[in-house]
């Protein structure tokens, strides 16, 4: 059967026309006619061209709809991305151009199909991808598709440093650094407003206070006001100052003789710890409760709620005895209080942090129910160390970036790394050598360390 006859037969069939046996010869003759042979050839050619055109149109539409996504870049950070035809399913492209890199800091190498460079500006880089698909005529114009590379600003460049309002009724310094002799120790503290606050010109919510008490006792308190509470900056001040004032008035020789006797016994016989803890709790719970009532008093005067003053509170009392150092502590919230051996043989966290399943969740001294909770007794602690250790207090602005999780606070190697970091083993090369002369500026500079996502207020206190 000739090609023309085959075509004619299927054409007639499509039309629903049956060719009877008796007409077979007639059809063969019909198909052998020159005119019909030429017509079928032409029809075939037209069909072929139409099919090809459609395939190209459909392919172009597919490519148009294709998400040609290159990774986003960051201003000033080296950028590299491969235009991987295989990964995008563009293997049928026979010639192409990618243009629009002028003044972007990026360039395209057509041979390696790699975009390379350092983006100069943030925003969208609009590129033009011109291409030809396999099957298109050599002289046909190139197809065009817009492609975008998103360039993010460098987060570091976005942080503003706006001063807080010095005339505010609860104004306080954005940054404090100090050092002073304290009992047998050197007291060093730095408290700096976090970038998240500096960026908006809001206040530092962290605070701390310290004092020497009667009978060679000393106290250091630290507090972290809640970012979500409007007067947290004041809450943290009141919390620290109240416990100190309360203990200055009440933690005197007459009241503490029983405690000191118990500590002397404990230094020889540690089985009395739970008794001793009861005595510690008696002394410290009144101070903690006083912090709550003082804040509550101010909240009532101001016509707001204690929640508006939400703050954590942790404090530690220390005294040197004949055979070592005694530490009494109380904590609510997420400020670690830790004793660290000077040669990093051991560390003793004094408190368990109040942290929730999610970031930022904690407990505050301004939540009255903490005093009634069954775990209230666990907020107190007592430790006794024969040698002089480091005593470290910090807020989560330091703890989060430097220790990350609570388990690390018990690891001596993490503390060794932390003190190495303070000694200058850091990317900024800033050194704070305790007991070896350092300037307030060193500590202040050290506290500016960069850590992505960690821009909370930072307070660090070290008794060295």
């Amino acid at each position: 059967m000739t090609e023309t006859e085959q075509y004619l037969r299927s054409l007639l069939q499509q039309q629903g026309i049956t060719v009877g046996e008796h007409l077979n010869d007639l059809l063969k003759t019909f198909a052998a006619g020159d005119e019909n042979i030429t017509s079928v050839k032409n029809i075939r050619l037209l069909q072929h061209n139409m099919t090809k055109d459609w395939k190209l149109i459909a392919r172009r539409a597919d490519i148009n709809a294709l998400q040609l996504a290159f990774p986003n870049g960051i201003v000033g950070k080296p950028y590299q991305a491969e235009f991987d035809f295989k990964a995008f399913g563009l293997e049928d492209i026979i010639s192409f151009q990618l243009t629009g890199f002028e003044n972007t800091g990026l360039a395209f190498d057509k041979n390696t199909k790699v975009i390379n460079g350092t983006p100069q500006n943030s925003g969208d880089i609009s590129l033009l991808f011109s291409y030809k698909i396999d099957g298109e005529e050599a002289e046909a114009p190139l197809n065009e598709k817009k492609v975008t590379i998103i360039i993010n600003p460098d987060p570091k460049s976005l942080w503003k440093d706006l001063p807080s309002n010095a005339d505010d009724k609860y104004a306080k310094a954005d940054s404090v650094v100090e050092t002073a002799p304290f009992l047998d120790f050197t007291f060093t503290a730095g408290s700096k407003r976090g970038r998240s606050h500096a960026n908006k010109g809001s206040f530092r919510d962290d605070d701390y206070a310290y004092a020497e008490l009667e009978n060679d006792w000393g106290i250091v308190a630290i507090a972290d006001g809640a970012g979500s509470a409007k007067y947290a900056r004041k809450g943290s001040v009141i919390a620290c100052n109240t416990v100190i004032a309360h203990l200055q008035a009440n933690f005197n020789a007459a009241n503490t003789s029983l405690l000191e006797e118990a500590i002397e016994i404990y230094s020889k016989d540690q089985s009395v710890k739970s008794k001793l803890l009861d005595i510690v709790a008696q002394h410290l719970s009144a101070a903690a409760k006083k912090a709550f009532t003082e804040i509550q008093k101010l909240a009532i005067e101001e016509g707001v709620t204690t929640n508006d003053f939400h703050t954590t509170l942790a404090f530690v009392l220390v005294k040197k005895f004949a055979s070592g150092y005694a530490f009494l502590s109380f904590a609510v919230g997420d400020c670690p209080l830790v004793l660290v051996d000077r040669s990093f043989e051991w560390v003793k966290p004094l408190n368990k942090l109040d942290v929730g399943e999610y970031g930022g969740g904690t407990r505050f001294i301004t939540m009255e129910d903490i005093f009634a909770k069954e775990n209230f007794q666990e907020r107190f602690n007592f430790e006794f160390t024969p040698e002089l250790s480091y005593v470290v207090l910090m807020t989560d602005g330091i703890y989060d970036p430097k220790f990350e999780v609570e388990a690390n606070l018990s690891k001596p190697e993490k503390w060794k790394a932390f003190f190495d970091d303070l000694d200058g083993n850091n990317t900024e090369g800033v050194s704070v050598k305790f007991n070896d002369g350092y300037t307030a500026k060193n500590l202040s500079d050290w506290m500016d360390f960069w850590s992505p996502g960690n821009h909370d207020d930072r307070t660090l206190i070290v008794l060295s």
């Binding site: 998400q67 996504a69 990774p71 986003n72 960051i74 943030s122 998103i150 993010n152 600003p153 987060p155 570091k156 976005l158 942080w159 970038r195 998240s196 960026n199 972290d224 809640a226 970012g227 979500s228 929640n307 939400h310 997420d334 109040d354 942290v355 929730g356 399943e357 999610y358 970031g359 930022g360 969740g361 904690t362 407990r363 505050f364 939540m367 989560d396 989060d400 990350e404 999780v405 609570e406 388990a407 992505p452 996502g453 960690n454 821009h455 909370d456």
Partner: protein
């Protein structure tokens, strides 16, 4: 690093076809640009976009803002609004994606959920079940946004106490709404007492808060 995971559930049912979906695309793109210029967001924000009509589609899985690219959101010309199925989908995602803190692992910030709809759920039974599940979950905030006169505020109130109503889904209104959404996101990473409900920033006057 602590991430702030934010989920967007967007209604792409038939009624959004045409101008509203265009307006939604523009508003989302504006919001992403605003967030990109926020230092804090750039450091911690992770976004996911899920659309729902007859089908639920994860348009963008949870992606850090730095690498986020907003695709064009499209919608069919007609079809039901399977809000319940969308909630079911997002809850599974949230449980998979969001990292809880422990002694040895840093937890994410509480996730935020924004639901945008211009109609009412077609799968009412499933919707009732899932709203209870969302409420029981510890989200930092759940915001329901009803746009246009066909949106059902009281249905959204089942899902969350934070329901806002937009009179129309036009470009300007949506832009204002998503500006407010970005403000809400920007305050999503602050410490707060466990068990306390976070306060949202006051919405602009174009947006009616449904109480």
């Amino acid at each position: 690093m602590r991430r702030l995971p934010v989920y967007f559930l967007l209604d792409t049912s038939g009624s959004m076809y045409g101008e509203p979906i265009q307006a939604l695309n523009n508003a989302l793109s504006g919001m992403i640009n605003t967030l990109r210029s926020d230092a804090q967001a750039l450091d911690s924000l992770w976004l996911s976009i899920i659309t729902f009509d007859r089908e639920v589609k994860e348009i963008v899985p949870l992606t850090e803002l730095v690498q986020f690219r907003l695709p064009e959101i499209t919608c069919p010309q007609s079809g039901p609004t399977n809000t319940g199925a969308a909630l079911d989908f997002v809850m599974n995602k949230v449980r998979q994606d969001v990292i809880k803190g422990s002694e040895t692992q840093k937890g994410d910030w509480k996730p935020l959920l924004f639901l945008f709809t211009d109609g009412k759920p077609s799968d009412v039974q499933l919707y009732h079940e899932k709203t209870a599940e969302v409420r029981a979950f510890d989200f930092g905030a759940v915001v329901g946004c009803a746009a246009g006169h066909l949106a059902n505020d009281s249905m959204l109130r089942q899902l969350t106490d934070n329901v806002v109503h937009l009179d129309s889904a036009d470009s300007q209104t949506l832009k204002t709404f998503f500006k407010w959404v970005s403000e809400t996101i920007e305050q999503g990473n602050k410490s707060q007492g466990t068990g306390e409900v976070s306060k949202l920033p006051p919405p602009p006057s174009e947006i009616t808060v449904v109480i």
